[in-house]
Homo-oligomer: 235 residues x 2
Amino acid sequence: MSKTRPSTEAPAKPARSRRVAGRAASAKTLEPRAPASRAERSAERRQAIIEAALDEFIARGFAATRLDDIARRAGVAKGTIYLHFKDKESMFEELVRTVIVPLVGRIHAPPQPGGTVRDAVEGVARMFIQEIASTRRGDIVRLIVAEGPRFPAIADFYYREVVSKGLAGMRALIELGIARGEIKEKGLARFPQIVVAPALIAVIWQSLFNKHAPLDAVEMLRVHLDLIFGERRTA
Amino acid sequence: MSKTRPSTEAPAKPARSRRVAGRAASAKTLEPRAPASRAERSAERRQAIIEAALDEFIARGFAATRLDDIARRAGVAKGTIYLHFKDKESMFEELVRTVIVPLVGRIHAPPQPGGTVRDAVEGVARMFIQEIASTRRGDIVRLIVAEGPRFPAIADFYYREVVSKGLAGMRALIELGIARGEIKEKGLARFPQIVVAPALIAVIWQSLFNKHAPLDAVEMLRVHLDLIFGERRTA
DNA sequence: TGACAATGACTGACCAGTCAGTCATATAAC
DNA sequence: GTTATATGACTGACTGGTCAGTCATTGTCA
């Protein structure tokens, strides 16, 4: 197999000619082609670049991704990228940050006062599958695993913002579960990773082996919760 | 005829202490560049290239690794690489295969007739930590996760040779454990991944987050086994 | 000596990053 | 309201460097 050819599969916006630019469609609700203000259009561009870059980085990894492809996919000239990002490397870092941050907000499971701990953990698991495993964010997780060692800044950030916070939250839940007698295995509080592990496996499986053997992530997580909390009553 | 080679008056074999055992005894009496037969020397070269390439690929990933670096590290000219491998891509694939194959042999845990299932699984876990998590093979696993999507051939191979076999073996153990009453959670037989997940997490953690928060993999796996088999008797 | 192995300078493709120039928009002046 | 000027977002051809892969030459073994 020779070098992977440029990705033309994407709806690469035809380089819109300058004369028409003023009428370029914008995503405004009513006006299909309202000429947004400079700031607005600039923000739109930046967003388009981020989306495109994400696709390319996920598909090819950092080193093999060409800025020309990102530019084409974003419907933008290559130079424009450098108006928004310092260079390829910091673009990658900033990119991951940008996409991860909103994900962090959803991490801390709100432990409803009334419910059981199992309900809370189940909620986290459901959220994880819906929001991460079955979306592009799952690929981001894989991307971090893949490029982390070469981007210590990203690995650090990810540990600080996601891993440590997520595990801390999970540990709190586990301790509550132990206190309430829902969880028998006390050692779990020291290794919340065990509770999370199958979810991560699901993400990796998804992008590597799913075509060989589809994995029912929901069912797997259910079994895992049964393992931790004991068989669920409703069978 | 002075050697034009810059700094390598003898085929520099820098960091290659791995399999010198056989030659170690005679290393003092014989010239380092022992007059081995052509075939032997060729095989040695090939092995050196594989070792070097592995180091580089692990450190940099596929795309960012330079063949010049591999050649230098292997104490070999770049052209020599092409006497042994078709191109960079097939070198990478063949490489992973070469390193994985001996690993596969160790996968099928020998279920000792006398012991408990827990003993058997513990043996697998111990083997995993010794042979994979704490060696360079762990990095290979990460490498596969990282580059898998861009090297379907490798992902396929890995699934066929390692994942499916490993999971099948684990499933057999689980079913035995269920039959013997050692394992309560029957659903585990459908998702052997759950049993293996923490081990994989340990590998990933190792290369990404260990400097932030060292993870005691042995202890974590023990807790996980407690979770599956119930508290161990000896406490 | 003949056959084969090894070398490393070389080539050509490829690509990150640059920058002089363009033009739509914003602002000021009339 | 209309025209003139200023701004800066955007462009894409270009540069300089890098690197996979080649091959004529050199070295080595049988």
